[in-house]
Amino acid sequence: MAEQTIMLQKQLEEKLALAKDVQELEQIRVEFLGKSGLITGLLKGMKDLSIEEKKTFGQEVNVLKNTAADMIAEKGEELKNAEILAEINKMPEFDISMPANLERGSYHPITLVQRQCEKIFKSMGFTVEDYSEVVTDYECFESLNIPKHHPARDMQDTYYLENGQLLKSQTSAAQNAIYKKYKDALVNDGVPIKAIFPGRCFRNEATDACHENTFFQMEGVMVDKNISISNLIFFMKTMLSEVFQKDIKVRLRPGFFPFVEPGFELDISCLICGGDGCPSCKHSGWLELCPCGMIHPEVLKAGGIDPDEYTGFAFGLGLTRLAMMKYGVKDIRDLNSGSLKTLSQFTDDE
């Protein structure tokens, strides 16, 4: 009987060699190992054999069964690998050198610079305030120690509205409201006032590459029991070094602004030449950047804060100017132009 099993195994070998895919392999498996397959069929001829022969033949068939199963499994593995390989080969090679599609949105450059400044001040515990664009004469001038007919009003050409209100000419217009908002916490709970307020300002003047009637400033104030000039210089230097991501030298000069006393003009070492002198700093090594000072006692008083008890500093940073310096924008009018050719370049700058 052994020749029968040997023949069947040979037959299986031949068929397996020809099998091309998993489906054909399954057919072969059924043909040989199925319930009524060839190998099981061998057992049908056993009834004429002796008990001893039956035992031997049975063992041979079982061995064949196992061998056949192994052979089929092995072939199956082989076919699967071949299929994966075929799939791999089918995948084309992409030209990754093709230009990338960079289409995405953009922020207004003022938003970017404003966010950078806000981030720095938030990290130092300052609140970020929002304020209206239309304000009263009291907010913009009176409360800031600039009474009617004060020459300082000549310095700013203000847009007045029919109802007597005006478009704020400086972010300082928010100071009074900020003091009133936080003075109770200051006086009752000892919470220092630390606030910045970025906002849009308006001046009634002719526009050119360097002048706009609409621009952004960021005002900052800090009020507590012992706020000093030393603190003011520290905060300005720290903030500006963070904004420009390098150690900035600052210097203060006396400057006259009615809402601060002493008042300063703050210069920073020229960003282009580092202080050696170049055309962009008119060879002085310094750039005039922002007015600042110790909040005038009358201004604190108008905000409901006792100037004998508290002191504070205030500064006004030109966000528009900062954005222009930071990104090298030459014409200020580009910022309000709405031109996507210009503005779509400012994707993100955290």
Binding site: E133, N163, P192, F235, P254, F256, E261, S337
Partner: protein, 786 residues
């Protein structure tokens, strides 16, 4: 204002100090110095006094002369000279061979056939005046060969301070005040001004003068006779010229000199024209001819100097032509006065005429200065012209005294303001050097502000801090962070939401953020067919195109879209900006912060674009507030709104804005083919809507069951309402998988997903829900599609 270091050095000895460094310190401690500092005379050398000994005419030239000059070197030098004023015996400034004048090196030079061994110089060539009419005549009795720099102050350092930097410092409008600053900065003594004592004239008759209007704070005058000299000394003229003024005649030059030295404007009248000096205003307007020959309109608010009832000068601004010093003037009346600063400022605005005098008066000049200035004037005048005779007593009416200001503070106050340690000695020394009277008792300071700082500049304790710290030098400050207790910082809700919305629009939807102006653009609106709607206006807009404040961002944004149609086939822009929606009941502007988005597409249908925008808003609402949006059709009321598909937007039940399509008239003007949709949201309302929060649901471990059903319906809303009305906890989600139109109309296929948290659902229980929904819809006439 130009300032001369020589002049300053008259009053403070700066020997041995680096002048340029002092100027730099002045810039940091007092007032900003302009970048260009002029080293006058540095480009001039080898110019000597020489006498013209012989003159002969040039044979071929009418203009040129052949001179032999004595330059003090023991010989006569041949010089060819074209100046018309050459004269034998005249002494002039002579540039020898080897001398330098600016860029020119003097060498022997052939002029029309003759060699010139040097050059006779005009004042202009020496840079000491703009006179180029002839060569300079030297009247001083000095030997030939003397370097001109030995007799004239040609060498000087001139620096400029912008007038704007001095607006709050009346004391810095003359060299003496500037010298006080240099003395304080250098730690050197300020010399007193040398003046003639006026007491000796007390016995002479007074001038008939009266202040009839207290806008004149103080009026001091004196009369002088017998002035014989008419030309100012060269050195005086050089200083005036270096400081930007021209020499005119001795009297005019002296008043200018005094003004530049002390900051006190003065005026000289012909005494015959001011026999009864009265200072007053007139009831009626009139015209008045000032000394520049111009007729000026004077109104009843303008303070005038008068001879009885005849005006002779506009107080503090300019003298009149009729009372000016003339050839036959023998006696002059010298005015030195102070006037109300605001009144002078208003006069100059009305007259549209600002003078060197009015500029100073506007700053609130020190009234104590008027008499000193007369004493100083007479000192300088008698030095120049010894025969001058004073013929009146000093006549001085002091109508409005400045308030003496005394300030008291202690060391702690200074420490608290500065944040650094500045010793009591330094404080006292600094304040005294600036002219403050200081008394120190322990740590308590009593300070009297000097008159020249007390008119408006230094009035409160904080002003004293500035005096101490600016002289101390801000560069010398130790800088320190503040000590302050820690408290949580609460972010402004609207600002936070604004930032997050911007991030979604930029990062997820690739929109571009723009800024537009707060006013309507008339011309641009007109070009697009958008009406400029009635709204509050600016009253002083210089450009009528921008006088109306916008009520909505949408139209200004559409103007910007128009500007960008060539940028790309598809783009979207947004702005978070402010608008004014009329007035509130208290007459103040009803200002709102809005978000406007416009999508523009040449490749998508209106429907696609509209839904893109709708989904964008739904994502924003879900992201920021975890709230759903709903919509309600509204009527178009603005010229840019399409009549269809205009919807109010509600978020969590609150109306937040509108979404719509741009009116075809406007859209076609922007681009003939593009679809344009827009939305505008009130950011303040939206930001304050309650955040529903994330509602976590544990996913069921048992299989979900999906059932798709189609209904014949124009709208999804009724189907959704019917499903919601079931209020079944088994319905996990509802979505639309298809919409199609056939002979029975529009059909919508919805997919319901069911699941139970604790077991597998049976088909029966889900079908029961579906049937119930179907029944509800049947009642409303919406049938299930078989």
């Amino acid at each position: 204002m130009f300032l001369s270091m020589n002049w300053i050095s008259d009053f403070v000895d700066l020997t041995g100090l680096d002048k340029m460094e002092l100027i730099a310190r002045f810039s940091l401690s007092t007032a900003e110095v302009e970048n260009d500092i002029f080293q006058k005379g540095s480009d001039i050398s080898g110019i000597v006094v020489a006498e013209i000994k012989e003159i002969s005419a040039h044979p071929d030239s009418k203009k040129l002369h052949l001179l032999k000059v004595d330059a003090g070197d023991g010989k006569l030098t041949d010089v060819v000279c074209g100046a018309p004023n050459v004269r034998v015996g005249m002494k002039t400034a002579f540039a020898k061979v080897g001398a330098k004048i600016g860029e020119i090196d003097i060498t022997p030079r052939d002029l029309a056939g003759y060699t010139s061994y040097g050059m006779c110089c005009s004042e202009k060539e020496l840079g000491v005046s703009d006179d180029h009419s002839g060569i300079m005549e030297i009247l001083e009795d000095v030997p030939c060969g003397t370097d001109v720099k030995e007799i004239y102050d040609i060498d000087d350092i001139i620096f400029e301070v912008d007038n704007k930097s001095l607006t709050n410092r009346p004391d810095l409008w003359g060299h003496y005040g500037i010298a006080r600053e240099f003395a304080a900065l250098a730690g050197r003594e300020l010399k007193p001004l040398e003046c003639v004592s006026l007491d000796k004239y007390d016995s002479l008759p007074k001038v008939d003068m009266k202040i009839e209007d207290k806008l004149c704070q103080r009026y001091s005058c004196i009369q002088v006779e017998n002035i014989t000299k008419h030309i100012s000394p060269v050195n005086m003229r050089i200083r005036l010229f270096y400081c930007g003024m021209r020499g005119i005649n001795l009297l005019a030059d002296l008043t200018n000199y005094l003004m530049l030295e002390m900051g006190q404007p003065m005026h000289a009248f012909d005494s015959r024209k001011v026999e009864k000096l009265r200072i007053k205003r007139f009831d009626k307007p009139f015209t008045f001819k000032t000394l520049d020959g111009i007729d000026r309109n004077i109104d009843e608010n303008t303070l005038m100097i008068c001879n009885a009832d005849t005006p002779v000068a506009i107080a503090g601004v300019m003298g009149g032509l009729d009372s000016e010093i003339v050839e036959d003037t023998t006696t002059l009346t010298l005015e030195s006065a102070t006037f109300d600063a605001v009144s002078i400022r208003k006069s100059t605005v009305r007259l549209a005429h600002r003078t060197d005098a009015s500029m100073r008066y506007e700053k609130c000049l020190d009234p104590e200065m008027t008499v000193t200035a007369i004493g100083r004037f007479l000192k300088l005048l008698t030095e120049i012209d010894g025969g001058v005779k004073v013929v009146s007593a000093l006549t001085d009416e002091y109508a409005v005294k400045y308030d003496t200001i005394n300030l008291e503070f202690d060391k702690k106050f200074v420490d608290r303001y500065t944040g650094i340690e500045i010793g009591n000695d330094t404080i006292v020394k600094t304040l005294k050097s600036l002219g403050f009277a200081v008394e120190l008792c322990g740590d308590e300071f009593k300070v009297t502000v000097p008159s020249w700082r007390a008119t408006k500049d230094v009035t409160i304790k904080a002003d004293i801090i500035e005096e101490i710290t600016r002289i101390y030098g801000y560069d010398n400050f130790d800088i320190n962070t503040a000590e302050a207790p820690l408290y949580p910082v609460r972010a402004d809700v609207v600002k936070t939401v604004e930032d997050r919305v911007k991030d979604i629009l930029v990062k997820r939807y690739s929109l571009h953020e723009l800024h537009s102006y707060i006013w309507a653009y008339y011309d641009e609106y007109k070009a697009l067919g958008i009406d400029v709607e009635e709204s509050i206006k600016l009253i002083n807009a210089t450009n009528p195109n921008i006088e109306t404040i916008r009520r909505s961002i949408v139209p200004t944004q559409l103007c910007q879209v128009k500007y960008n149609t060539a940028y790309a086939n598809d783009f979207g822009v947004f702005e978070v900006g402010r608008v004014v929606e009329g007035l509130k009941s208290d007459n103040s502007c009803n200002e709102h912060k809005k978000l406007a988005i416009t999508l523009f597409s040449k490749t998508k249908t209106y429907e696609q674009l509209y839904f893109e925008l709708r989904d964008m808003l739904a994502v924003v609402a879900d992201d920021i507030n975890h709230q759903e949006l709903s919509f309600e059709a509204m009527e178009a009321t603005h010229s840019y709104q399409h009549l269809k598909n205009l919807n109010k937007i509600f978020c969590g039940g609150t109306e937040i804005g509108e979404i719509g399509i741009v009116h075809p008239i406007v859209a076609k003007k922007i681009d003939k083919k593009a679809a344009i949709v827009y939305t505008e949201i009130d950011m303040e309302v939206f930001a304050k809507i309650e955040n529903a929060g994330i509602l976590y649901k544990e996913p069921s471990r048992f299989p979900e069951m999906e059932i798709d059903i189609s209904f014949v319906s124009e709208k999804f809303a009724p189907i959704n309402d019917a499903i919601k009305a079931e209020n079944s906890p088994l319905i996990k989600s509802v979505s639309v998988v298809d919409t199609y139109t056939d002979e029975s109309g529009k059909s919508i296929t919805v997919r319901l997903v069911f699941s139970h948290p604790e077991r597998t659902l049976t088909k029966e229980e889900t079908m029961a829900i579906v049937e119930s929904v179907t029944l509800r819809l049947e009642k409303d006439g919406i049938l299930m599609k078989k």
